[in-house]
């Protein structure tokens, strides 16, 4: 189900159209650079492909939004087979409910009192589910939900090999689940077990082996809970690099992938059936004998590494140029005299890892056939709540 977007979203859309709207109708190469560009046709192609594959998969799709932070992309995900959305932060969850979603998983621990309160208030309006790996955190969520008069769904997070948050054993999972069951205003829904470590494995077969091991363990934990009288109707897992394998596991009920929509170089290496919808447009600002310098750097595309793996951004048509160094506002590539790039050239740029770049920008320039057709806001921007919490407390 999808409601109409609330004023929080429509006003932000109007604001970025006001800020950047003079670009509409122009070629993307006429933009002020660096600009973040999303090709709507490629995006919809990715969403439609995923939707078509869902017919053969057992699990349902819960589209992750942390990769794009776009209410507009999220609505398209919901129109293309996703039954709900997945978020990394409670601020993303508020934005996505305001965008019209009615079923959100915050696949993360909240812990901080302000964040627990935000989730509990949001649960008065939509189905909100949160990950937990600690009985004390569950008690804090319960208290917040009691105060707000709402019910929070809970998934016990299981560490399936990623070594971030998550319980370490079936016994610990059972203990946390039982604690959740006994707490008021919490609904023990099942388990969450994103196998993110598999996405750091570039080798296809090795990745598949890791994915199988992770999901075998995940299902064992679920079996143990059910054998001990704790039903687990929801088992949520998967990322873009493992979605089709994990989605074929008959026990997994929902998939929480996100990069399939906007994509980037990093995910394209692992899953080339999805195409790069999000790129940047940049300008050559200096041409030396042995190098070219572009007007975007780490304050534009973020880190050039994911974990310890290089996710080096590259210039379209000049993919062979070797990075010399990435600075805050500059990307410098080695380029000898055979390279035709010159000062003032405006070029397309492959993003290494889209989520880092998206976090720096206000808005996407939406393009079709290379022409800007709309401006979509990026929401929320940055780590702070940006006024979302006081607005929620005030009832809007």
């Amino acid at each position: 189900m999808m409601r109409d977007p609330a004023p929080l979203i429509t006003q932000a859309h109007e604001r970025v159209r006001d800020f950047h709207g003079s670009a509409i109708g122009k070629s993307k190469y006429e933009l002020i650079t660096p600009a973040l560009v999303i090709d709507r046709d490629v995006l919809v192609g990715n969403l439609a492909y995923m939707q078509s594959r869902l017919l053969e998969l057992h699990a349902r799709l819960r589209g992750h939004v942390k990769n794009h932070k776009s209410p507009h992309v999220a609505r398209l995900q919901l129109e293309h087979g996703a039954f709900g959305l997945c978020c990394a932060t409670v601020w993303e969850a508020i934005v996505m409910v305001r965008a019209g979603a009615d079923d959100i998983l915050i696949a993360n621990q909240l812990v901080n009192p302000g964040k627990r309160r935000a989730a509990a208030l949001l649960a008065r309006e939509a189905r909100v589910t949160v990950n937990v790996d600690d009985p004390g955190d569950a008690a804090g969520l319960s208290a917040a939900a009691v105060e707000a008069g709402s019910t929070l769904g809970i998934l016990v997070e299981v560490d399936t090999g990623m070594h971030r948050a998550g319980v370490d054993s079936p016994e610990e999972a059972l203990a946390v689940a039982r604690a959740v069951q006994q707490l008021p205003n919490l609904r023990m829904d099942g388990l969450s077990g994103y196998e993110g470590h598999c996405s750091l494995e570039m080798d296809h077969d090795a990745r598949h082996a890791k994915q199988e091991a992770a999901m075998r363990y995940f299902v064992e934990v679920a079996d143990y809970l059910e054998a001990n009288g704790v039903p687990c109707p929801i088992l949520s897992a998967a990322g873009t690099a493992t979605a089709f394998w994990t989605g074929s596991n008959p026990r997994i009920t929902e998939l929480q992938l996100g990069s399939y929509a906007a994509m980037d170089d990093y995910h394209y290496l692992m899953e080339p059936r999805f195409h790069k919808a999000t790129t940047a447009v940049v300008t050559v600002i200096s041409r030396r004998k042995d190098r070219v310098v572009l007007d975007l750097g780490k304050k534009t595309f973020g880190s050039a590494e994911v974990g310890s793996i290089a996710a080096h951004p590259r210039i379209f048509g000049h993919e062979d140029l070797k990075p010399y160094r990435f600075d805050e506002e500059h990307a410098t590539y080695e380029a000898d005299e055979s390279c035709t790039l010159k000062v003032g050239d405006v070029v397309d740029f492959h993003l290494g890892y889209t989520p880092f770049a998206v976090n720096y920008f206000d808005a996407y320039h939406v393009v079709g056939d290379g022409v800007v057709t709309d401006i979509w806001p990026i929401m929320p921007r940055g780590p702070l709540h940006g006024g979302l919490l006081p607005a929620l407390e005030a009832g809007h």
Binding site: V111, N112, I285, S286, K299, E328, E329, R381, H385, G386
Partner: protein, 389 residues
Amino acid sequence: MGLRDPERLITDVHERVRAQYAPALGRASDELTTPALLLDLPILRANLELMADGLRDVPTALRAHVKVHKSPHIARLQIERGATGVGCATVWEAIVMARAGIEDVFVINEVVGDERTRALALLAREVDVKTAVDDTVQVDGLSRAAVAASSTIGILIDVDEGMHRCGVASADEALPLARHIAKSPGLRFLGLTGYEGHCSLEFDRDKRYAMAGDAMAKLTGIAATLAANGLPCQIVSAAGTGTWEVTSRYPGVTEIQPGSYATMDGHHRKLDPRFGWAVTVLASVISRRPDRIVTDAGSKTVGASHGVLKGWDLDVYRFDEEHSIFVVDDRTSLATGERVEILCNYTPFAISYFEAYHVIEDGVVTDVWPVMPRGPESRWLLDALERGE
């Protein structure tokens, strides 16, 4: 150059972030919603004082670089403590700083593209605007924009002293470029700029200072060649926080352009530990496992260069987008729900992700200051400039 009152562009945003984070005012920093960007104002002021002291006996001017903090408020404090102007990495930062009341702004970067040159030329009608070039293509674009705006832009030739980014490599390249600038309408040739950024990657002080000396010999040598050819350099600008002291004392250098000395971070503390850690990221422990803790500040919060925990000697296990993970054992008492402060290895990446600082004095939040401009692309600032706002 003085300091005017900040304009609406700044005060409106300040009021907005103060309203958004009003519940935080008066609170202890460990009661905040995390992650939050903390600015310890007394430490910041002490850093500015230390820099002013260090330049007391030399004629070299201080041009405070603002890309590090992107804060109109901090920039104003820098001017009040003796900086003659600011350095910026982008034209959008320059617009913000002019609106903050600063009358001398230098975009220490190559400005290419019609909108960006127009922004600079429009701004030059209001305040003293300078920028860097290394190519006649940039010069011609800036000249056209300045003529169209009926303004004058000050131009410094960017010299590559070993950093290998932008910049001309020799006097042979600089001289024809300076002549080209001198005869370009709307532009005024002012001198040379040459950030010795490669030196800030060398942590050994003696080696670093020797490298800076070599770099300054090249920079001032080119200035001498230009002067001998009738193109005297009124300004020779260089240095960062890692080389400010040695470069400020190099004969022929007229101004230094450090920025990190104000806010500091792990990288710059290794270069000059006399400046204190004024900016940190407050986080919460959101998961405690037997062998690790997980906080709610990841690489989408502290940025590409990550960080360490203040007061805890813990190895980094991994930074994910929304999580930082540190290795612990049974002796580490940190539990789920506890607050920790992350000392960023490189503050500018963190600041670019945040919309505001929580200003801390004696452990209590006393104000909320906006980060401006946010993000790489700021067409709205150009539109505001064109509307005369």
